[in-house]
């Protein structure tokens, strides 16, 4: 299925309803992405006000989550969607939960960023956090892009990157344990960094979830809890 198909219903109000709920999801995604960028930026460039800005976005994100939920319930109740329409509504309902959680994790990162800003910075200026942060922001960005265009190839790329994130997370984890053992005074900072990278790793998981829903939406195949190699095979196989 493609995005054009959305607007081919005999009922034009149905078209409008689906189009509206889909663009709300994209708007919500855009806000969450911005929250995340600001939060991570707050760690690499010290900024004590980052928390306030991210929290402001959060209000709007929550509002959107509720209104999308409501729209989906109404569509389910009044239209009885089937096939790709049904998959779209299910995908949206699940996607916004993950988006909302990405926002929550972003808020946690921002809170820690505000705390770290008041403290002395390490020599590497949190380079490892910035690197992992960039990967994760890209993942979220591409996930939203894939969702906007129903692009399963891009979704698959995001799924592949989740492995990198997990490896990077492990590496930072080990590195921080070393820091803590070398110099107990660094424990406080190292723990904060651990919290941040833990959040980033979770965000990667949420982006991965959304990409899996998207593959279900487009191809009708449930690829959750499936090895990436098998998903690749599924994507190449004809619809079955």
């Amino acid at each position: 299925m493609s995005t054009e198909g959305l607007s081919h219903h005999i009922s034009s109000r149905y078209n409008t309803d689906l189009e509206r709920v889909r663009s709300s999801v994209l708007e919500m995604g855009g806000l969450v992405e911005r929250q995340l960028t600001q939060a991570i930026g707050g760690i690499t460039e010290p900024d004590a006000r980052v928390m306030v800005r991210v929290a402001q976005e959060e209000l709007r994100v929550n509002q959107l989550e509720r209104s999308i939920d409501e729209d989906c319930s109404r569509i389910l109740a009044t239209r009885g969607p089937t096939a790709s329409d049904l998959r779209l509504i299910i995908t949206i309902l699940k996607t916004i939960t993950d988006l909302e959680r990405i926002g929550d994790e972003g808020e946690k990162v921002a809170a820690i960023a505000a705390r770290l800003a008041l403290r002395e910075r390490p020599n590497n200026r949190y380079r490892e956090v910035r690197n992992l942060g960039e990967v994760v922001i890209d993942m979220v960005h591409d996930t939203l892009d894939a969702f906007a265009r129903f692009d399963t190839k891009l979704a698959l790329q995001v799924l592949r990157r989740d492995r990198t994130v997990d490896e990077e997370y492990e590496a930072i984890h080990r590195q921080n344990i070393t820091f803590m053992m070398e110099d107990p005074r660094s424990i406080r900072r190292a723990l904060d960094v651990m919290w941040v990278v833990r959040s980033l790793e979770r965000i990667g998981d949420h982006a991965k979830n959304i990409c899996e829903y998207l593959i279900y939406l487009v191809l009708g195949k449930d690829v959750r809890h499936t090895k990436i190699e098998e998903i690749e095979k599924e994507l190449q196989a004809p619809r079955g």
């Binding site: 096939a83 049904l86 998959r87």
Partner: protein, 305 residues
Amino acid sequence: MEQLVRSKPPEVESPGFLPASDIDTGVIPIRTSGRGMLQVAVDETRRTAALKAPVKARVEALDFFYGELKALKNITMDIREKQVTALIGPSGCGKTTFLRCFNRMHDLTPGTRYEGSITLLPEEINLVARNIDPIEVRMRIGMVFQKPNPFPKSIFENVAYGLRIRGVRSQIRIQEEVEKALREAALWDEVKDRLATSALSLSGGQQQRLCIARALATSPEMLLFDEPTSALDPIATARIEELIAALREQVTVLIVTHNMQQAARVSDYTAFIYLGELIEFDETSRIFTNPGQKATEDYITGRYG
């Protein structure tokens, strides 16, 4: 000999402790490395049960003509036993024409012609063959119409009618069969105290259930429903749908409906027919979540193709 078998189950080769009946019901004994036996129950979900259901009627290369007009084109599909198969498609696509082939309702329309076959199993009778008596077909395959059409007779006589036609004379037997059919049609409790009153005094939903009871009285193997609830309110509709679900235990059901949700709710299999052709035939759950054909998708989601 038979008694001997019943009293003493036959010896099963390896697992002496397992009664033979367990093996029949799908418990497979597996030998593990010298540590005795391990029982694995075979998972029998509704889905696989449906897939394994035997074929009740086999439609092969069926064409149907109203004079020059070819209304059905080369339809081939299997109707599975004791399953509900729904026929969906836009008005004029041929789904009712197809349904009516199953009990030879076209015979009285001049200029109509069947080609191909509908084979009823296990006897392998071709329902649409000229030498097959349509009355006999209708005894075995009942039909319920869009509008309830009870005879202007008493409730009792409506149900007894088919039995009398069949030549059943015994009053006791007729009474038993009428009660049974009315119970099966979930109508007995509502009419048992007024069996002698006119069927026309019943409500629309009750009349429709009476028609179902009338069709059930001759113990048919298959029931055809042509939009059975389109003239009924939601409550009566829900009753009929419940009934169809219960009937699945004993008869094979074929139903034409314009209500997509109804097809999704009551059927195990769905066939999408368009312009006289069978476009897609699959399990209902699949048709309504992930159909294979774009035309099916467009139709069930309310899109123009």
